[in-house]
Amino acid sequence: MKLNKILRSAWEGLLLNKGRSFLTTLGVIIGVASVIIMLAISAGTEAEIAKQINALGASLVIVSPAKGTPGSARTLLYDDALAIGEQVVGIVGVSAEQAPPPQNIKANNQTLGDISVIGTSAEFPEVRDYPVASGRYFNQSEDERKAKVAVLGSGIATDLFGDTDPIGQVITVGTTKLTIIGVMESKGIVSDVDYDGRVYIPVNLVFAKFIPTMNIGPDRIRTIYVKAESPEKISSVITQITAVLAERHDVDASNPDFSVQTQQDIIDTREATTAAFRDLLAWVAGVSLVVGGIGIMNIMLVSVTERTREIGLRQALGARPSDVLLQFLLEAVILSLVGGLVGIILGVGGSYLFGKFGSMSTAIVPLSIPLAFGAAAIVGIFFGYYPAVQAAKLDPIVALRHE
């Protein structure tokens, strides 16, 4: 008996119970669709992270107070940033940053509430790869003499001034009047921070005008960003920073009250989280494929029992055990492959919709389609084999007598 004839009788066998066949394939459909969506989400997330590496600069070193430092310990001070700038070699620049609570901003007869105001050093645009679009950033002397100047994120500039040039205009931040000297380029949202929606002012101005209300001491800073000359110099820069700060803070360098991280460390942490998430999804997808396979095996066993007489008749008419085996195996494989195809369509469509309307970015991995299809085929063969063997083993005399 030729394969195409067996295929046809297997197909006819499935059409016998269309509803049941469809329900049986659901497990495989869900399994395959989730494999594809899972891979698309994790590929999309990885692409997003890679984009952030480029956006923030790969040579960035981030110094922050150690988490869990006892309250009495000295945390990062403005002078620490100055010391790093003077003593560490192989760096492009240092930017100390501190932020007061969100402020109300008044300008041009408008008030915007809850705006992030960030105090930075003069080297901020260079260190953070975030250039000024028009006007200029404040310089170091303006920072040191607490000049009342501000640089706007591009979004804030548009919100407050629309098409008119904001440079030279005065805004009121909290109760302090500041002159706008520049507008940053558009950067968008990176790592959940909306760079375009912030106002940048000298960090020393923050200490003078905004910090007293914060009750954390006059010259404490939350982060020091240091840009190394090249990614290769990062490890040397980290060692130097650790040594400088450990000496200044009078702590053991192996157990510091500050942490020195690279952009890569933060990315690695995030990637580890994504990877754990992805592994979990992979297990879920794998389990649902197995469950789908068990469903197929179950329904095929029922089918073999129901069609015992048919099997006996086919044997009487000349079907060899291998013909019967192949017919039932193919029924199982067709079930799982049809499920696989529908699952691929749903998976690709689902990934697209997730990326378009969901909060996650997705990128369909081309390899995931043959992979999912192959997995469906293997499930069909693996779980269809046992029922098919049961069918082929039937004794024609017993099978023909079966009611």
Partner: protein
Amino acid sequence: MESILIETKEMTKVYGEADAAIFALAGINLQVRNGEFVAIMGHSGSGKSTLLNILGCLDRPTTGTYMLDGRDVSQLNKNQLAEIRNQKLGFIFQSFNLLPRLSALGNVMLPMFYDPTEDIPASEAKTRAIASLESVGLGSRMDHYPNQLSGGQQQRVAIARALVNHPPLILADEPTGNLDSKTGAEIMEILDQLHKDGTTIVMVTHEPDIAQHAERVVCVKDGMINSDGDHGSAPCIGERELA
């Protein structure tokens, strides 16, 4: 001289082992010539079903030989037996055994699906199946499904299926058992006609009037042939009537 189609020698079928052994067949010596119409009769438990299963190559004898159409088929494996069933045998069952999801035509085409000697193209299989259905008078009902056919019509589809591969031997197992006597008579007419045309038929039945259609009645009792002769002289019919 007519050639021999079936020849069994000291054929036994034993179930169980040693002390618990049951001889379903206890040494059957049977010869059937080409063109004969033989009825096998016997009580239930006499061994006639076992004999038919072995003659139909659905089972193998424990000892002894079974020559079918010049070939010893007593020790063939499952695949070889399947091939013999497809090429040498046509089965007619008491309960018709048609596949409900296939039309009359589809059912008759089934044996050609499993033809081991040639890959019969669908168009040719269809032509042959149509011819076979026409020969049993069902040319107008080829597209009907079994549930749209009467019992007699279903059995005629089954006969067409048995004939479609032109086997030398037709095995009928109580072919009229599920039919009323009028329809049963129609089916027997078809078998009579086949016999006249030269087909060899071996039929199991327990109805004496059905057995009378055969030219020879073999009576099986306790796994052995109790009598063998033309139906007029067959003592097992009388014996059964007494029982």
